[in-house]
Amino acid sequence: MTPSESKGGGSASPEAPARASGVDLRVEGLRKSYGSVVAVHEVGFEIPAGKMISLIGPSGCGKTTTLRMIAGLEQPDVGRIVAGGRVLVDGDARLPPEQRDLGMVFQSYALWPHMTVFDNLAYGLKRRGHAREAIAAKVAEVLRIVGMSQYGERYPGQLSGGQQQRVALSRAIATEPGILLFDEPLSNLDAVLREQMRFEIRSLQQRLGITGVYVTHSQDEALAMSDQIAVMRDGRIVQIGRPVEIYGRPVSRFVAAFIGLTNIVELHGIEARGGGITGALPGGGSIRAGVGAISAALSRGTAAVSIRPVEIAIRRDAGSADADNRLAGRVRTTAFTGGLIDYFVDVGGGLELRVQTTPPAAAEPGEEVTLSFAADRTVVLED
């Protein structure tokens, strides 16, 4: 019999001891090739102690390889990794994984099926030569933190996916590592549990003050869990910054489309206007954009701008005249998705914009509407 998730899954107890065991992590000029394929190219970033960075990108972008090089499970061709002042890798000089003082949560959890939950957690502590009583106390403590106290004598095969996930997490923190590595840890869970674990992992990481590196292909996880996000593509970091920066000021079409929903609109006849630009739409009319790669757009004469669907207001009347951008259009179709309503609005010239509002619906299919959005929410992209 498997106890319900909610019973085993009570969130971390508030009296768990706060600890600041995290160390800062610096990754410099990492490069890794497999034959002629360059998997990771000049990747570098820095993360202060106790903070969490997410590496996000489509599959094959090099994020997992980067994480595995930090863990010591892959060897970089070139590059340097320093954690808390200790050099983990520098060219050919490198520490084996077991000497790096890390915790890691694997995508498959990698719980040893022939050991009980207790033995799984005690494993790393035994390697560090702790006394039997100290190990028992420590295991009990971390099991309590993840709400799995009563499962110590179970085998991993007797646990549900969510419970295995908690055990994997507690095993990673049991040795009080300076850095926690996460390799898409939530991808094997169902949507509800994934949502719940996301916040639990984040709160645990913050409370324990452990430095985290989190690999994911889910923008929701990256946005919700990290202090920094590094968006990767083809082995390179294409943008790095705080979640709100990545979302609000994407630098390229790729980042704009990969993190969050967006409309990308092509403009021509770019002119300077009040610190920003204005550009013509293919079907007539113009758009003002106030932020992003302004000077690049001016010198090129054309630009692509990104406007998030939630930044666009939709009204049946003409709307307020002082909006930076106003476009007339006709609602082609709408979709109700619960918390949001999606509108696909034809604004002429073959251009369709996606708009999102909270219910109730502001317009029905076939209706004429006016769309308006602010110039400082309209981002000029570099490419």
């Binding site: 994984p97 890691m104 498959s108 022939h114």
Partner: protein, 561 residues
């Protein structure tokens, strides 16, 4: 309105499969069980006599110690080789894997012949060489293959193959993250092997060892050639004395020991299933250890292949080309005369015709009926499926010698003596089909499990009937597996010895029984070697074909269950 066909009426298919299995498996084993327990009423007299006979007790002890020795040594030799092939960049990985398959399928009595030629106490070439090099003033020795240790050595390659073939996929299928997690948690590479890899391999190691164990119990050829007193040999001796009760009792004891191993084996493979936490996932290619570690494994692999293939079969080839074995390595002592003599011998020609037709008809029937049984077990949701499943696996636990005794008892007594099978082609055919049922059923089963039922359902929805769907969808999609099953059974049946030696008639000598006759006297060592090498080459070629097909059909050779 609806026209029901064969495969629409699961009960018919079930009944045919059940009757067939009952006839082949349940009747002989059941009959022998009853026969061994009755003598004008229920009695354990036959078993009491068995345990009172010191020679039989010794035979049983010898059988058990040899089987246990082979099982243990197979693990000690097979596990490192499997690790080298699955986890390191050693050279010759393909060579070692191929050698394992050749060793498993090539007839065990050939290796016994070769080792006798090399390590026989008087004339064995190793002994002659050692005596010359060390200037020993003895007429025989120092090596003596005619001992229980000699038998263990002869049976070892078989057992090593079982362990190796069970372990390599297990080592490859372990989630690499399980070992990586151990490293990240602070354990070094060797500690990781000790605490994580080896415990995870325990079920696979155990199943390999158990197959090695029961395989060694069932051996007939090598102990016959080495003139050792083990159970299979004493069963035949009882039969020669026409003491059917004793033969039945000894056979039952042999079957029970083998069955115990099989039950444990099934248990350990189930346990292996339970050890899988994330299912159906394929893992990225591991690079594996390089450098000195890989070099050490390369040496190990080469030594093994030399010891079990190159040296023995090379030696046999050399001997087969000698005009006179006594003249040894001298110029002018070389010719193909032995091969000519073997090929022109009418007894050999008759035996070849018989063995090829036996093997071909056995392979055909086993493949066809194996498919039917597998289809009933896997696809038809009928009660009692498990019974068919079990009946089809029992022959794996019945040594050929024991099966032959059972068939002799059944077909020499009423009512089935009316069929007149005994002494002819028929009884050999029944014996062969029964021995190899398991391979036909298992191959079809694993192929059917991989084949999504939706292919067949789509055909039914598309308008084809049950039988038509099997003919147009199921069989074509399984054809490689079926061809592979046919070839595997053919290769195993062609040199069958342990049942043939008991059931052969005056006019039904098989290839292997003729080989034993030549070995025992009328042709001599050189001709026997020529004959043996021809057999080895034929088996090898057929085997490579089967392995190539298996690679395409199922991603690897499957033997056993």
């Amino acid at each position: 309105m609806t026209k029901l066909t064969f495969f629409d009426r699961p009960a018919i298919a079930w009944a045919i499969a059940a009757v067939w299995l009952a006839y082949l498996v349940a009747i002989p084993i059941g009959y022998m069980t009853v026969d061994s327990l009755t003598d004008n009423g229920l009695t354990l007299a036959a078993y009491a006599e068995f345990f009172e006979d010191p020679k039989l007790r010794t035979a049983m002890r010898n059988s058990l110690s040899v089987a246990a020795g082979v099982a243990v040594l197979s693990v000690l030799v097979g596990a490192p080789l499997a690790f080298g092939v699955a986890r390191t960049q050693m050279h010759g990985r393909t060579l070692v894997s191929a050698a394992m398959i050749v060793c498993l399928v090539s007839p065990d009595f050939l290796l016994a012949m070769a080792y006798i030629a090399l390590a026989g106490p008087n004339a064995g070439y190793f002994n002659q060489a050692i005596r010359t090099v060390f200037d020993l003033k003895m007429e025989s020795g120092p090596l003596n293959i005619f001992t229980l240790w000699g038998l263990v050595l002869t049976a070892l390659p078989h057992g090593v193959s079982y362990v190796f073939l069970a372990l390599v996929p297990a080592l490859r299928n372990v989630d690499p993250a399980l070992e990586e997690a151990s490293r990240v948690q602070g354990a070094g590479p060797l500690e990781t092997i000790r605490d994580v890899t080896l415990p995870l391999m325990r079920p696979a190691l155990l199943s390999g060892a158990l197959l090695a164990f029961s395989g060694s119990l069932a051996m007939y050829g090598p102990p016959h050639m080495l003139r050792l007193n083990v159970l299979t040999i004493s069963i035949r001796e009882s039969l020669i004395r026409l003491d059917f009760k004793a033969a039945s009792a000894a056979s039952m004891i042999l079957i029970l020991m083998s069955l115990a191993a099989l039950v444990l084996y099934r248990h350990s493979t189930r346990q292996a299933e339970r050890f899988r936490t994330v299912g159906g996932k394929s893992f990225s290619e591991r690079s594996g250890a390089e450098g000195r570690v890989a070099a050490a494994f390369t040496v190990l692999g080469i030594v093994y292949v030399l010891a079990v293939l190159v040296v023995p079969y090379g030696g046999m080839t050399v001997i087969s080309l000698m005009k006179s074995v006594g003249m040894g390595f001298s110029a002018g002592n070389w010719s193909f005369d032995n091969y000519r003599a073997v090929f022109s011998d009418p007894a050999v020609r008759n035996a070849a015709t018989l063995s090829v037709s036996l093997a071909a008809s056995t392979a055909t029937l086993v493949t066809v009926m194996g498919f039917l049984v597998a289809y009933v077990v896997i696809r038809m949701k009928l009660r009692g499926r498990w019974l068919l499943d079990y009946m089809s696996i029992i022959p794996l636990a019945v040594p050929g010698t024991a099966l032959a005794i059972a068939l002799a008892v059944v077909y020499l007594n009423p009512p089935l003596n009316a069929l007149g099978l005994y002494g002819g082609f028929g009884i050999l055919f029944v014996a062969y089909v029964t021995r190899f049922i398991t391979f036909g059923v298992r191959t079809s089963q694993s192929s059917l499990i991989q084949l999504s039922p939706e292919f067949e359902e789509a055909s039914r929805v598309g308008g084809a009937g049950g039988l038509k769907t099997v003919a147009l969808i199921t069989l074509p999609m399984m054809r490689q597996a079926l061809v592979y099953a046919w070839l595997l059974v053919f290769v195993l049946a062609l040199p069958e010895l342990s049942a043939s030696i008991i059931l052969k008639g005056i006019h039904t000598q098989t290839l292997s029984t003729v080989l034993l006759d030549i070995w025992n006297g009328n042709g001599g060592l050189a001709q026997a070697c020529a004959f043996g090498m021809t057999m080895f080459a034929s088996v090898g070629i057929l085997l490579l074909t089967a392995a190539a097909i298996a690679k395409r059909a199922t991603g690897g050779l499957r033997i056993g269950t």
